[in-house]
């Protein structure tokens, strides 16, 4: 089981802030492909990966990063702090 968190417009597009999934995805990219197939709102949110960032257990990561041992995945747009 893995926790998936969504922030900002990703959260709005998908319609929920977090969910828990059973997945056999090996990498972040695999997980994204599985999510895209679930529903149109996921396909829309993950349409353009250049507009997205991912964090694994609260550390920024790449889309080809492995999910082994990861408990929390977060998807969000580029950050706008400061």
């Amino acid at each position: 089981m893995i926790d998936i968190l969504y922030f900002a417009w990703v959260r709005e597009r998908i319609g929920l802030p977090r969910e828990r999934l059973e997945t056999d995805a090996v990498t972040v990219a695999d997980l994204i492909n599985q999510l895209r197939k679930r529903e149109e709102r996921y396909a829309a949110a993950f349409a353009d990966l250049t507009a997205l960032r991912v964090a694994l257990d609260q550390e920024l990561a790449d889309f080809d990063a492995p999910l082994a041992g990861v408990r929390e995945v977060a998807f969000f747009p580029p950050m706008t702090g400061g």
Binding site: L5, F7, A8, E59, M79, G81, G82
Partner: protein, 145 residues
Amino acid sequence: MRVAVQSAPFDPGAEVQAFTAGAAGAGAVVTFTGILRPDGGLTGMEIEHYHGMTEKAITGIVAEAMARWSLIDALVIHRHGRLAPGQAIMMVATASPHRGDAFAAAEFLMDYLKSRAPFWKKEIGAVGEAWVAAKDTDEDALKRW
């Protein structure tokens, strides 16, 4: 060092006073305060953040600044939630024996907070709301460090 991620407003003057008083041995204190500008009918701002990661990311950025420059102390305060125009969004403060280090570290902190701390700003106006888009120039700014 102190990192505060908070929904409550803060008073930059009082923070500067406390920070300066606490930075014994410093020859230079630099502060930056980001304020919500009342531009073009903006009525407010909503700042979303990734609770947990935010504190961790900022603490890591401050630790890197303290490792790279000769700093006696550093402070980051960043608000989340709803802000009114004219309110302070965030501030950084650096204290160093030397002015060059205090300036460089404060700019470094700002550049990294912009693009590496998980906050997302939504501008709220009379006619609607819009997420603030990240700027390429903000990402480019990281390359100088």
